[in-house]
Structure formats: C-alpha cells, structure tokens
C-alpha cells in the first residue's frame, strides 16, 4: 500500500487506531542495558504466560526502546494505568501475570521507592528521575514498538513530512529550522538551519544528505538509544532535510559495533519504502529520496565529518582540511550535509509544533533540549533529556539522585575525550553550549561521567589520552606524536618516576597540539589533561613531587573495630583488637583495596 497524500496518511492513521483493539499494553524495555539483563527472556515468558491464561487477545506485549532509567532495569510499564515495575527478573513474571492481570492487584514488591523512603511509587512519572526531564528527541523512546510503523504513525509519525511536502518550499523549511534556533547535537553546536542553507546554495544537481551515527565517545549511548527506540523519526527527518537541501540520496554512516541497530534500520527503511514514504514520488509530491546504510569499522575519528566522508568512500578515515567544507565538496566531491542522529530526531517535532514552540525551550543561545547519558559514580545511571539551561546540580542531584553511597561528588567530565571537567564549586553552571565552553569543557555529544572523591584525576586524564592515542589517525604530527609524548609523561608521573618539570612540558605540549592539529579530534585532544591540570593541580603535584600516598590507611575516628578488614587483607598487614581501631602496616600494604571494599563504615582511606 502506497500512501500518496496528506489525506491518505490521515486515513491510514484512523485505520491504525481501529486496529488497536488491545485493552492493555505491556511495554518491556529492550534497550541495550535491559537487554543485557535478559529482558528478551522476559518478553518471551510474558507472551507464553499470557497465552496459557488465554489473555493474549486482550493484552499485548510490546518491545520498546530505552526507558532511560537503566539503573533500575529491566523495567516493565503497563498501560493505560502506567504502572511501572522495576528490576524485573524472570522469576517475577508468573507473579505479575497471576496478580496484576488475573487478580487485578499491583505487585507491590516490584514497585520503585526513592532511596531512603518507604513510599511505593506506582507510576514512572512520579519518580524524581523523570520529573525534571523533558522528552523531545526521546519522545517515542520507550513508548512505542520501534519497528512497528503503525505505532509511529499513531504518534503523528510522518505527518511532519506530509506537512512539509504539501505546504512548504525548501526555503521555507530552512527558515523554520533556522528560526527554531536548533544547533548541531553532535559536538560543535553549529546552527542546523544555516548548515542546510549553505548546502542548498552550493551549486550542483547531485547532493548528499548524511546522518552521522558513528557515536564513539566512551560512555555515551544517546544516538544508539534514539536509533533503537525511534528509528522512524530519524528516517522522517532525513527525508525532510533532503527535500530542504535538494538531495535525493541519503546515507546513514553507522558504527559496525551497532549490529542490532543496523538490522533494525534496514527493516524500518524497507517498511518506509513499502508505504511510499521513501523512494520515488514520496507522498505523491514528485520528490524522490532514498536512504543507504554505510558501515563504519571502529574508528573514533570517523565522527569528524570529513573523515566520515572519506570512510564512506572506502578509504582510511583521515580528516581533510576545511575549506572546502562538505557543504561545498563532500561525498564523491559533491555538496553534502552531515547532521547527527539527535539533531535529526528534533526535526519532525519542530515542523509539527512550530519554530516558536521550540525556541521557547532552553536558554537565549541554546534552544531546545539535550539528551545526556549519565554514568559513573551516580545512583540513577541512565539516559536523560533536559531543557538546555538545566544546572549541573539539578542534573546530578535531582535527576541523578547523587552518589550511590552518599560520598562526595567532586567533579563531572562532560564532552568525552574532547571535553573537560567541571568541579563541584561550579555545579551551578547551566548546561548549554556557551557556558560549558566558558568552563573549559564542551557539550560534545552528551556524555556526563560523574566522579567521586576517590577518583584519581591524573588516572582519568591518562585514560582519555590512552584512548586518543589509540584513535589518532596519524595524519598530522602534533596529534600523532604530541599525544604520545604526553601519554609517556603521564605514565612516568603515575609510576612515581616523574619530576616537577614534567608539568610544564605537559602544558606546553598541550597548547601546541591545540593550536596546530588538523581536525577537531586533534585540536581538543589535550583538553582532558589541560582541564584536570587546571582544576586539580594538587593531584598532579602529588605525583610530580612524589608526595602522593600510595598505601591505604584507616581513620581511627571512624573505625569501629569490626575486624572485617583484617580478615580480608591478603597479606595480613592489618592489626587491631576487636572493637578497637585497626592499623594498616603501610610497609607491607600492597594497595589491593580489599579492606576498602569490606569496611562497613567507610573508615578506610584510599590513597
């Protein structure tokens, strides 16, 4: 069946509504994190249990994308009552079917409680984690069956496309996106509308529209969650963008590691073609557009647009100098427009709700919302979407729930290997493009890593530099050799073989690399080191002046003399009588951390 006009789409939506004859929908999160905790088995068990009670005609089990609250996964949400069960295990299924569906009573033990509280929360919307969030890009994630095109259409899917093709000229579309203030969500934060305009104005009949799905920041999974949970929205946005810039060919460049997502995209694209939403004469408008998938092969630098284009052409993914910009000469030397997944996910809602609506969300220069993956030493690990301008404090304490063991959080790292740290003194900083850059960090693609007082910042910097070393493409010298030398210095410091002069060398090298590297990856590669050096100079000095403590010790004021540490110590270097403070013999301590792990009162001090 081909849909050939706005009206036909409308009729189809009505028909989809009528097809929905289930009384109850059971939404099971099958995002990567929940899937890793066996949520696929939950789905199968639910289905067979429902069948054995003959309930499958009334109750439908739907596999959705990421709910976001990964720390509580696997999660199950039952509609229309919105009752949400957390940390569901295989052995809980029978209980849910027995009590919830047959006896109509809620399974209390599977409900969520805020930490330290006893009140059971039935609905996900009551959870602190969701209260300050605003889901725009993630609007359908966890709400619909991502592979079911009817589900998407029911949520006004493809209506933005139909509206565009029926009512707007390409220039009008570009104006809407420009007016909305949407900026690129992949890192730099360039105006999306302006980027489209540049590509539209570039001379030539053959143009390419590219979706950058090469999410490579360690600790970031926003784009993956969008593609998994709502792939049709990205497809729809790509068609709209193609129409705006005058391209008939779309390409999605996706990491080879995302094999499941790639399969899902292939199926979704086939479906869209079947209904005439991709291919020739889309929705009867005369506009042709189709999408091809290009696989990456594991190279972080390919997130940089010129490197990405080289890789799509079958070469090593080495960046090129700009200009010429991809908008002038990109894929196959033709004008090309590259946007990232999250940027695209915003487009359909902007078209449907209007530029003004979008521009009202956020701050003066950063409009809309941003998706973050919130990870590290934080209670509520997960995928979070907040309006721009939300403070870091709100993010980590209100939404994130603070430290899981109530220890002090000393800093966050934002922006991945290109970003920097922000310390607790600055947690009132608003999260938007410009405030973050001012702080020496950057938005990047949106990974936030929370670090507590035990985190060694020099080790963190070394970790990022190791990553950059590994991922540097080798084309330009400052990045290839400069980061290697920086890494060697850090290694020397960490092994207590460094000297105070090393700190100067690190700074100088960092600045030179920043000034002279060819691409964005190289120019920002020293950031993790420079930024940790700026905010935690004492941690570097402790290594450089060799005053760094390397052995564990016990705080006699906190120690209750439970003897657990002495029993756990593999080299038997902890002494003390029962109910009296214990002492670690530092000359024998091998710094294994066993005592630290077992201490019930946090009396062991980490070096």
């Amino acid at each position: 069946m081909k849909i050939a006009s706005y009206q036909e789409l409308k009729n189809w939506q009505k028909k989809c509504q009528n097809n929905k004859n289930y009384k109850i929908n059971v939404l099971v999160c099958t995002g990567t994190s929940c899937l890793s905790s066996d949520s696929q088995t939950l789905v199968e068990m639910l289905e067979s249990a429902l069948e054995s009670h003959n309930l499958q005609v009334e109750i439908k089990v739907i596999k959705t994308g990421c709910f976001g609250f990964c720390g509580q996964g696997p999660m199950i949400k039952i509609e229309p009552d919105e009752i949400t069960y957390v940390k569901v295990k295989v052995e809980d299924i029978e209980d849910i079917v027995e009590n919830h569906f047959l006896k109509n009573t809620t399974v209390k033990r599977l409900l969520y409680k805020e930490p330290g509280q006893t009140k059971l929360l039935e609905k996900s919307s009551e959870m602190q984690f969701y209260k300050k969030q605003m889901r725009v890009a993630l609007r359908n994630c966890g709400e619909i069956d991502p592979e079911n095109i009817e589900d998407y259409v029911l949520n006004d899917g493809y209506f933005a496309l139909a509206k565009v093709l029926e009512n707007y000229s390409p220039d009008e579309v570009i104006k809407i996106i420009k007016d909305s203030g949407l900026r690129g969500r992949g890192g730099g934060g360039f105006s999306t509308g302006l980027k489209w305009e540049l590509t539209r104005k570039s001379p030539g009949n053959e143009k390419y529209l590219i979706c950058n799905a090469d999410e490579g920041d360690p600790g970031a999974f926003m784009d993956r969650s969008i593609l998994e949970g709502d792939p049709h929205s990205v497809i729809e946005a790509m068609i709209i963008a193609g129409y705006a810039i005058g391209a008939n060919n779309g390409l999605i460049y996706i990491r080879a590691e995302y094999a499941l997502v790639t399969e899902r995209l292939r199926r979704v694209i086939t479906d869209a073609r079947k209904y005439g939403l991709l291919g020739k004469d889309i929705l009867g408008s005369g506009f042709d557009f189709d999408i091809e998938i290009k696989l990456g092969a594991g190279a972080f630098v390919c997130g940089e647009e010129t490197a990405l284009i080289r890789s799509m052409e079958g070469f090593r993914g080495e960046p090129d100098k700009k200009p010429p910009f991809p908008s002038q000469a990109g894929f196959r030397g033709k004008p090309s427009n590259v946007n990232n997944v999250e940027t695209f996910a915003n487009i359909p809602v902007i078209i449907l709700n209007g530029a003004e609506w979008f521009a009202k969300i956020g701050t003066k220069k950063s409009k809309g919302t941003k998706v973050f993956s919130l990870v590290g030493q934080i209670r509520n690990i997960g995928l979070v979407e907040v309006p721009m301008g939300t403070t870091i404090k709100e993010m980590i304490y209100d939404i994130g729930g603070g430290h899981p063991e109530e220890r002090e959080i000393k800093a966050i790292q934002i922006g991945g290997p290109s970003g920097g740290v922000i310390t607790k003194e600055y947690f009132d900083t608003q999260i938007d493009y410009d405030s973050l850059v001012e702080m020496g960090a950057m938005m990047g693609s949106g990974g936030i890593i929370v670090m507590d007082e035990d985190t060694d910042m020099v080790q963190i910097a070394k970790f990022y530099l190791d990553f950059i070393q590994d991922e540097s493409c080798g084309k330009c010298t400052p990045c290839r050799i400069g980061t290697k030398r920086m890494y060697e210095i850090l290694e020397r410091l960490v092994n207590m073989e460094g000297s105070p002069e090393d700190l100067n060398s690190l700074r100088t090298l960092g600045r030179i690399i920043k000034d002279t590297s060819l691409c964005g990856l190289g120019q920002t590669s020293a950031n993790p080191v420079l930024s940790t050096m700026k905010y935690f100079p004492e941690e570097y000095e402790a290594y450089a002046y060799k005053t760094k403590k390397t052995k564990y010790s016990i705080d006699p004021k906190k120690c209750v003399g439970c003897t657990k540490c002495a029993k756990a110590c593999p080299v038997e270097c902890i002494e003390g009588k029962i109910r009296e403070p214990h002492i670690i013999n530092e000359s024998e301590c091998i710094a294994c951390g066993s005592c630290y792990e077992v201490c019930p009162v946090n009396a062991v001090i980490k070096p």
Partner: protein
C-alpha cells in the same frame, strides 16, 4: 614470507565463491564498497589474513597497500585469527571509573596472554572495546554476544571456568 602472502590456494574455495557472489551483487562503484567487502570477508573467514587481503585487492582492482591500509586503520578488522570465545572488556569511561582495568588485568593473568592475542589452545581471545552502551551495568565484559554486568575481578575466574567446562563437555 612473500610467497605465503601471494599464495591464495590455502583459502577455502567455497567461501571465496561466496565472497565473489557478494561483490558481484553490490551496486555502483565497487571500490567505494571496500569496507563493506572487508566486513563480509571477515564474517566468512573469521579474520583477514594477508593473502585474503590481496585477493580482495585484485578483485576490486585496488593496490594491496590500499587494502592493507584500510584493514590496519580500523579496529574492527583483525589480521590475526580470533578465538572461539571472544572476551571483550568494555573500556568505556563508565566502566573504567568502576574498575574495568582491574577486570582486564585479571582476564590477562588467568589466560596468560595479553589483549589482542589468542590463547594457546585457540579458545580465547581478549580485547578491550569502547563503550557498548550498557553503562548501567558497568563494569561490563562480553563473551561473544553474552553480556556479563557488574563484573568483579574475582568473577572472571568463574566465567572462564564456565567456558572451559563447555569445551570439556563437548570433547
């Protein structure tokens, strides 16, 4: 050595035929599809030995240097054989902050090999991977497609014992 690289007779004919069919099925400029072709070749053969790279180069009318350049650039491609059980330790930041380096160390110690190497019995290979997106379960280790979450160094012993056990059962 040179002859070994040039010698393509050791490659499985049936798999080569499958690779040929795949290349023939591709539309448009075949050279542009080099990375796709290499993905397919690795899927078929398990890894990309140099004679196979040369085969691909001839087939696509590219220089072997160009093909080898691409193979060595991307971390997804292996020039060495891969074990039956691929143990990957996630080294994303979330996992690192939660002690993934200790987990990797334990795996290396237990199997007595470094990362990116294959164990003597050909059963295991170890590598570190970038974020697999299961940060809620950090630190994470995967064996082929099976994900183990919240792994402590001591858990590694059990995990490896389990796969060794599978092998003993089979034999």
């Amino acid at each position: 050595m040179k002859n070994k690289i040039m010698d393509m007779s050791t490659l499985d004919k049936r798999l080569l035929k499958e690779l040929d069919d795949y290349i023939n099925s591709l539309d448009g400029d075949k050279q542009e599809h080099l990375i796709l072709v290499l993905h397919k070749a690795q899927e078929l053969f398990g890894y990309l030995p140099q004679n196979l790279q040369l085969y691909v180069a001839r087939k696509l009318n590219l220089s072997s240097a160009r093909v080898n350049g691409v193979v060595t650039f991307y971390s997804f491609f292996n020039e060495e054989p891969v074990g039956k059980y691929r143990i990957s330790v996630c080294m994303g930041t979330a996992c690192f902050v939660k002690g993934a380096d200790k987990v990797l160390e334990r795996v290396q110690d237990l199997l007595k090999i470094q990362k990116d190497r294959i164990s003597e019995d050909g059963l295991f290979t170890i590598n570190d991977v970038r974020c697999i997106g299961a940060c809620g379960l950090a630190p994470v280790l995967t064996v082929n497609d099976k994900v183990y979450g919240k792994v402590k160094p001591n858990d590694v012993d059990d995990i490896i014992r389990y796969y060794r056990g599978l092998e003993n059962e089979n034999s």
